[in-house]
């Protein structure tokens, strides 16, 4: 090789050797870097990567607790958990998503909103995770899919528990419903306890007793592989089921009350005056709460929301109505207590009332008045003029204060959602709400429950209950008790007594309550013909008719000439049996016309059912 003229074997060998030395240094250097790098990963950051490796391998799965059931007072189920079938898609296993969705659409009905929601969820999930497409499949859809399942790789049906309300619209307002947790609720709840739970109480008892019904989330640590498939359970802490609750409601009475309303728009609240337990709470029209559990389709929701008769609106708690004459016994009691009147005092009640020195005439509902009336006759026949006079002499301050003792103008604090306080007008209220001074004329119409005054049906039922109990006030409540999860015994809630209404002389109660019996049972009583004549037990009640439509000074109210939605609201409050009250009730029929003709018979039907058929 060395025969080449200028090739120098020795120099080349040395040159080569020096290059090899350079390379060996290079190798040692790079291996050094590699070892430093590996030490950095394996020693310095060992715990960090161990954690990551554990997180990879071990998945903490929430075990949502089954929601507590809701029963009526006799053990009839009002809210239960039923298996519901949902359609899920695992993207990884689907060849052509668009085409799969199109084919699925031929088997199950897919709303556009459902597909949009699905695509939104899809972006947040990993391809091996199943994403729900349709939440509540009908049995028919499940069967249809089962037949064709082999044509849909990556599409699966998953069963889970979903809330169901077997009573449907019977109990919709009072029991309420659950729905998907929204952003606002997410901020409010303990998200840890709701991991794995998709639904939460939205309104009514479901919402109020959410904490009791929900229970405590459980966990399991499972080992998974890279596909997310569960290999084994490493550790498990079972969930604590939500507690079952028993309501004071009685489905039979509820049904009777709905039937009694007979298609009218209105509300009925019936309660046990002795305990404050609400026995029936009806708002008509109603809706099917089951629609809300699986996400109500927008079309149906809009229809419900925009319906003229407002089925979503819980009139019993949220509806505010002028109480009209139903408050006359309370105003009369105020007159007695403040020595404005005595039971025997009589006055001549003409067809109208005028303030001294004023032109304005405050008309009686009866064109020519009631003649000479005392308190008994004024309540039994509902003389407006008598109470105009009483109210004027009592004054708004004392009237307002006394009505306040019955809880008007404040929420009762019932264990449900959406309750409104109504309006108890006073000088301060008017100054605050309207910024104007109080006019004497406003006192006069306030005395017959008109003007600014507004009450909810629940407040009126509570007033009836307080009258029945002669001043003892108990907070109305829907919860009868909670079932102890260990002993399975019902732990009853005890009634919560509120500050009672006290009067100076106990006979004052008789002096306003006896007339309430006369309302129903005396031939001249406003509810005698429609209600009292055939009653099998003694009812104490008071009719009311509240104006929706302001009449002109000398106009006559003529029902036939006024459009139906402007007709007066019909009201009736009552308790029975008068000598031993076991039920107190308030009935409001929107645009029902007259309390005596429309509302009172409805109340009697409910009480009949309770006292005669149910033996309550």
């Amino acid at each position: 090789m060395a025969q080449h003229t200028i090739k120098d074997a020795f120099t080349e060998r040395r040159l080569f050797f020096s290059r090899v030395v350079v390379l060996v240094v290079f190798i040692v250097l790079l291996f050094g870097i590699l070892i430093v790098r590996l030490s950095h990963l394996q020693v310095v950051n060992y715990s960090h990567f161990t954690t990551l490796s554990q997180n990879n391998r071990v998945r903490l799965e929430a075990l949502p607790p089954p929601r507590g059931l809701i029963y009526d007072r006799n053990g009839v189920i009002l809210a239960e958990n039923r298996p519901a079938y949902q359609l899920e898609i695992t993207l990884e296993q689907v060849e052509d998503l668009q085409e799969t969705l199109e084919r699925l659409g031929r088997i199950v009905t897919l709303e556009n909103s459902e597909i949009e929601r699905f695509r939104r969820l899809l972006r947040r999930k990993r391809p091996f995770q199943a994403v729900p497409l349709k939440l509540n499949l009908s049995d028919e859809e499940v069967a249809n899919f089962a037949v064709d399942r082999h044509r849909f790789p990556g599409v699966d049906i998953q069963a889970r528990l979903a809330r169901h309300y077997p009573m449907g619209e019977e109990m919709a307002h009072v029991v309420g419903y659950v729905g998907r947790i929204d952003e606002r609720e997410l901020a409010r709840i303990d998200t840890r306890n709701y991991s794995g739970t998709s639904h939460i109480g939205k309104i009514g008892v479901e919402r109020y007793y959410e904490d009791v019904l929900h229970g405590q989330v459980g966990y399991q640590r499972v080992e998974v592989n890279a596909q997310g498939r569960m290999l084994r359970i490493l550790e498990r802490q079972p969930p604590v089921a939500g507690r079952d609750i028993v309501l004071s409601l009685d489905v039979r009475l509820q049904a009777a009350a709905r039937q009694a309303l007979n298609g009218y728009t209105g509300a009925i609240v019936a309660m046990d005056p002795r305990t404050g337990e609400v026995l029936a709470m009806v708002s008509m029209p109603s809706f099917d709460p089951n629609l809300f559990v699986h996400g109500i389709p927008a079309s149906i929701y809009n229809q419900l929301r925009d319906h003229r008769r407002q089925p979503l609106f819980n009139r019993a708690l949220t509806g505010q109505y002028p109480p009209g004459s139903t408050l006359k016994p309370v105003v009369g009691l105020a007159g007695l207590e403040h020595n404005i009147i005595t039971a025997s005092r009589t006055m001549f009640a003409a067809g109208y009332y005028q303030l001294p020195g004023h032109d304005r005439r405050y008309r009686d509902w009866r064109r020519h008045g009631h003649g000479w009336v005392n308190l008994d006759k004024a309540i039994a026949q509902s003389s407006d003029v008598y109470f105009y006079d009483l109210g004027y002499r009592l004054g708004i301050d004392r009237m307002s204060e006394f009505l306040g003792l019955f809880g008007l103008g404040r929420v009762t604090g019932i264990d449900s959602t959406g309750e409104r306080a109504g309006i108890l007008p006073s000088r301060e209220w008017k100054q605050g709400a309207l910024g104007t001074v109080w006019y004497p004329g406003e006192t006069i119409i306030a005395a017959i429950g008109q003007g600014y005054m507004l009450t909810t049906p629940l407040q009126l039922a509570s007033v009836a209950s307080t009258l029945a109990m002669r001043g003892i006030r108990i907070r109305p409540h829907l919860l009868r008790g909670i079932i102890n999860s260990d002993s399975e015994e019902l732990e009853l809630v005890s009634p919560e007594y509120l500050s009672p209404v006290r009067v100076s002389h106990p006979q004052y109660w008789d002096q306003v309550l006896d007339p309430m019996v006369h309302v129903v049972h005396q031939p001249n009583g406003t509810a005698y013909n429609s209600t009292g004549r055939t009653a099998a037990y003694i009812i104490a009640g008071k009719t009311g008719t509240s104006q929706v439509f302001g009449l002109g000074q000398d106009e006559e109210y003529d029902e036939s000439r006024i459009a139906k939605h402007l007709r007066d609201h019909a009201l009736f409050i009552a308790y029975a049996p008068a000598e031993d009250p076991r039920i107190a009730i308030a009935v409001i029929v929107e645009n029902g016309g007259s309390g005596s003709r429309t509302a009172a018979p409805i109340a009697r039907m409910v009480m009949d059912h309770f006292l005669l058929e149910m033996g309550g």
């Binding site: 090789m1 080449h4 200028i6 090739k7 120098d8 120099t11 080349e12 060998r13 040159l15 080569f16 050797f17 290059r19 090899v20 390379l23 060996v24 190798i27 790079l30 291996f31 870097i33 590699l34 070892i35 790098r37 590996l38 030490s39 990963l41 394996q42 020693v43 950051n45 060992y46 960090h48 990567f49 161990t50 990551l52 490796s53 990879n56 391998r57 990993r126 080992e223 998974v224 592989n225 890279a226 596909q227 290999l231």
Partner: protein, 365 residues
């Protein structure tokens, strides 16, 4: 006496005992970890064993061929290799998005793999008769001779093999004693034209470079390999999780775990201490190869042996570097450990050449 007989037998067979021991130790470790990485699949082990058998056969054959024969064949092999590479681009089979295979009817053949040996052979041949250190013009010619197959391989595209082919050729040029100033000038030139490379890179190749810089930017996509691989290595710790106990690999979080990422499986199960053992074996083989190069008796053998040893190092470093997140992900297997046939054959053939160079030197003298 026994030791003498033993080495005599090896001498007759033209085998190098230190290299042979190192290779067997490495492959033993390889089998152990492949058993774990494959999910205890004996079929995989059997196929790997058959490949090793064939590769050992080729190593043994090449060890019998004196290096001056190889030297004579070098230009012809190179010409043939380039023609085959062109053929691959024209009529090659497509596998995994790249044209690498030539279907000869009875077996499928990857000409780029052949070039890993042929390119350094050719460059060594080119310099063998020329006075060294080479002049600039010669370096340029050698560079072009390296570039032609490299560009053809990048075009397949197969970045990993192109890197190995290029580096094997460039290493010969370096070992030939190219002057430092030329090296520095070339290095500067390379840096200057780097942006053009970026321009010609495929999207997935660019993605790999970007992923290296910030793997967390795409944890489920391109960064997934690197993140999972780092977790596997890191969670192995000093002592490892134990054989068959690596959760990252056994539960399939680690992708490509029996091929390109087997290093991570090893690191997870045997820890840093296991890695140090593995790297020591590699280092021993590389240093033994360089020793053989230094002891070689002619320029051709010297350059070829040096290049072969250093290319083996590049293999190890690039694979370990990419698996531990130091380098971008390029498809380079861990030599003699990763599951797969073609690189196994090439590498053992290269060791056959090393053995031949060492065992034939007295006969040549």
């Amino acid at each position: 006496m026994r030791r003498y007989e033993h080495s005599l037998l090896l001498r007759i067979l033209h085998l190098d005992l230190p290299l042979l021991m190192g290779l067997l130790l490495l492959m033993g470790l390889g089998f152990i970890i492949l058993f774990s990485a494959s999910g205890e699949d004996t079929d995989t082990l059997l196929r790997q064993a058959m490949r090793i058998g064939i590769a050992f056969g080729i190593m043994f054959l090449l060890a019998q061929i004196p290096s001056h024969h190889l030297r004579l064949w070098s230009p012809w092999l190179y010409g043939l290799g380039v023609i085959l590479l062109v053929l691959v681009l024209l009529v090659g089979d497509v596998g995994k998005g790249a044209q690498r295979w030539l279907d000869l009817g009875f077996f499928r053949f990857q000409p780029s793999e052949l070039m890993k040996l042929v390119v350094p052979m050719l460059i060594a041949w080119y310099f063998a008769d020329r006075p060294l250190p080479p002049r600039f013009r010669e370096v340029l010619v050698a560079g072009i001779l390296v570039a032609v197959p490299a560009v053809l391989i990048v075009g397949q595209p197969d970045l990993g093999t192109a890197i190995l082919v290029t580096s094997s050729g460039l290493l010969v040029i370096f070992l030939a004693g190219v002057r430092w100033r030329i090296l520095i000038a070339l290095g500067a030139l390379l840096l200057a034209i780097a942006p053009f490379f970026w321009h010609f890179m495929r999207d997935y190749q660019r993605q790999r470079v970007l992923t290296l810089l910030n793997p967390e930017s795409d944890p489920l996509g391109a960064g997934y390999h690197i993140i999972q691989s780092k977790i596997a290595i890191g969670s192995g710790g000093l002592y490892g999780k134990g054989w068959l106990n690596g959760t990252q690999s056994q539960l399939a979080f680690l992708p490509e775990r029996s091929t390109d990422f087997i290093f991570a499986v090893y690191a997870e199960e045997f820890g840093l201490l296991g890695i140090l053992l593995l790297l020591s074996i590699y280092l021993f083989l590389i240093l033994r190869g360089l020793y053989i190069a230094v002891r070689a008796q002619d320029t051709y053998a010297r350059l070829l042996a040096g290049s072969i040893s250093m290319t083996f190092f590049v293999y190890v470093f690039v694979n370990a570097g990419m698996v531990s997140g130091l380098l971008p992900v390029v498809g380079i297997p861990l030599p003699l450990v990763s599951y797969g046939g073609t690189s196994m054959v090439t590498i053992l053939a290269a060791f056959g050449i090393l053995m031949s160079i060492h065992s034939h030197r007295r006969l040549m003298a």
